[in-house]
Amino acid sequence: MDRILLIGLNHKTAPIEIRECLAFTEDDTQTGLTTLRSDPAIDEAMIFSTCNRVEVLMTARQIPAAIDAAKRFLATTKQVPLHAFEPSLYLHQGQAAVRHLFSVAASLDSMVLGEPQILGQVKSAYRLATEQKSSGVILNRLLHRTFFVAKRIRTETGIGDHAVSISYAAIELGRKIFGQLNGKQVLMVGAGEMAELAVDHLVRHRTGRVFVANRTFERAVALAAKYEGTPLHFEEISNYLSKVDIIITSTGAPGYLIRQADVKGIMRHRRNRPLFFIDIAVPRDIDPLVNQVNNAYVYDIDDLQEVVDDNIEDRRREAVKAARIVDEAVVQFRRWLESQGVVPTIKALHAKLRGVAEAEVQKTLGQLAHLPPADQQAIARMSEAMVKKILHDPTQFLKGNGCHGDRAVYMDVARRLFKLDEQLDPTEIKDRT
């Protein structure tokens, strides 16, 4: 277990200035993996780089040498002096490295807890490692385990549930009102980054036509073009209230743009179809009393922020559950790795062959009941001796006299050749395929 090493830095330990210097592109990673693989101290290696982290995962026989090699590798390939980033580096070994990898892939270590992209990024990093043949028995198994754990956490905990950004929280609320957003018409009043982000999200949910109203008509035209929508004059807003379903306001107007009476008046016109106001302006554009009108719903920026805060809190609670799943998986992985050791493999090999021999002897002796006991014992002894003789050379080989290079490979071959891992639980067999 101690042969597994993970060295790297992330958004918690290193500022963006350092992370951007060390970030690996896909090409960098490919050449980097070749460099790492050629280092005699390192057996297997994988490089994982996103905008928030750079990590090197490896297995090694000479641990201090491998650590040095990895540090030097980061410094030389990225041409950053080691002392500039060495204080930001963390080093995990054995169980800690496995736990860290599981947590990263399950998005427990992300800047936005539970964000879903990270698993895909780990997967493509692993794909590069397999393409460069820099991953071996242990990393293959470890990464498959990682994907399994990450998926399990995503389905069994609420780590990825519910929006953690203002614009996305608005979409989620919209879906609680309208069910499906497709075909719903959107009116955007004013402009601004957050309003545009919200409209982007809405359009991605296949909403219907987008209307854009702005005090400066040119601005409205420009924004409308972006969403292939219709620009409106500011005075037209009230005419369109009976037409649209979702209204996003973010103007700099000092007073309310839309008042309770305006909305009450048009509800009958729109046959009481629900109307959802997303008011991200400060000061507010929508009179909060509009929320009291039947089938009209108003959320201002504070309401949305509260939703987001609650959801983040929920994710934190779920992260505790996730951590338990990670711990469980670490223990399982350790058990697997221990079973891959020399002694357990040899023991399992002997047990298997002895079992086969004994069963056959019993079967044969059952038909030879007329033999005297002494003869029966002789046959049994013979079969035992055969097993021992047959296993002598393989045992010596596995004990290390004949193993060159990575011993894990030979262990793996031996276990597979004799099918020693048959009693694996079904989930583990599944993630091998």
Partner: protein, 273 residues
């Protein structure tokens, strides 16, 4: 017959338990389990009722026990039927316990039947009974959906996002499901009233006798007709429809039980015990 009935009750109870667990734990397998159990319970229940029908040759609705049992059966059946089109999983947490509750009330009353006057026979009558009960069941479901709608609307308006916010579906789905329940129920009781009148003509020689039961059934019909008309004409929806649907069940209960206990009239054998 007794065995099938007891089995149905037990399976309904399991289904209710599964749905309640689903309400809290939000595991889809629990919902699936609840649904399958509800189907199984409904199957056993159908068997029990069919058995009684085969044995006596008339719809088993001759005392309060049997009538309530048929009410429960109609609610479970209508829910399963509506479930084909409207996937309102959470409603099962209302339907399954309600079914169990009604059956529990039913078994408080003796099963022994007074020999029925041979009124409860013939195609018109069977259609009358079945459609009326299904209509009632649909209205009861509509009221359940209405309660869910009000809960969810409160969550969204008051920005509380409590226990039910995550668990309940969108307002739109609740509203359309409630509407579908009312349309279905209205269609059923319309057929039920017409067949009832045809039967009355055949038995008593008159379509309409101003019996209290008839009058109150007409009140129900008008109540829901107004509700539907307002929706179609001026777009009544959401909160108002939900409240009306809940109020409708009050009128319904009075017609079903209140009239029998307080006002007398024909249909008396339904609720005798």
């Amino acid at each position: 017959m007794q065995i099938a009935f007891v089995a149905a009750l037990l399976i309904y109870m399991l289904s209710a338990a599964a749905y309640c667990a689903y309400l809290f734990l939000q595991r889809n397998t629990l919902q699936r389990l609840g649904e399958i159990l509800l189907m199984a319970g409904f199957g056993a229940h159908t068997l029990a009722i069919g058995w009684a029908f085969a044995a006596t040759g008339h719809v088993p609705a001759n005392n309060l026990h049997e009538t309530l049992s048929i009410v429960a059966w109609s609610i479970a059946g209508t829910y399963l039927l509506m479930g084909i089109r409207f996937r309102l999983k959470i409603l099962g947490a209302y339907v399954a316990p309600l079914t169990v509750f009604i059956l529990f009330v039913a078994i408080q009353f003796p099963r022994s039947t007074v020999q029925p006057d041979n009124l409860l026979q013939g195609v018109w009558l069977i259609t009358h009974i079945v459609t009326i009960f299904m209509g009632y069941a649909a209205f009861i479901l509509a009221a359940g959906v209405g309660v869910l709608y009000l809960l969810q609307e409160r969550n969204i308006k008051a920005k509380t996002r409590g226990f039910f916010f995550k668990r309940l579906p969108s307002l739109d789905l609740l509203d359309t499901t409630g509407y579908a329940c009312i349309v279905f129920g209205f269609t059923m009781i319309t057929i039920g009233l017409i067949t009832g009148m045809v039967y009355a003509k055949a038995v008593w020689g008159r379509f309409w006798t101003w019996d209290p039961k008839e009058v109150w059934s007409a009140v129900i019909w008008i109540f829901y007709a107004v509700l539907l008309h307002e929706r179609l004409a001026v777009g009544w929806r959401g909160r108002r429809t939900a409240i009306m649907a809940i109020a409708g069940v009050g009128v319904l209960l009075f017609t079903f039980l209140g009239v029998n206990f307080l006002l007398k009239g024909h249909h008396g054998q339904f609720t005798q015990w």
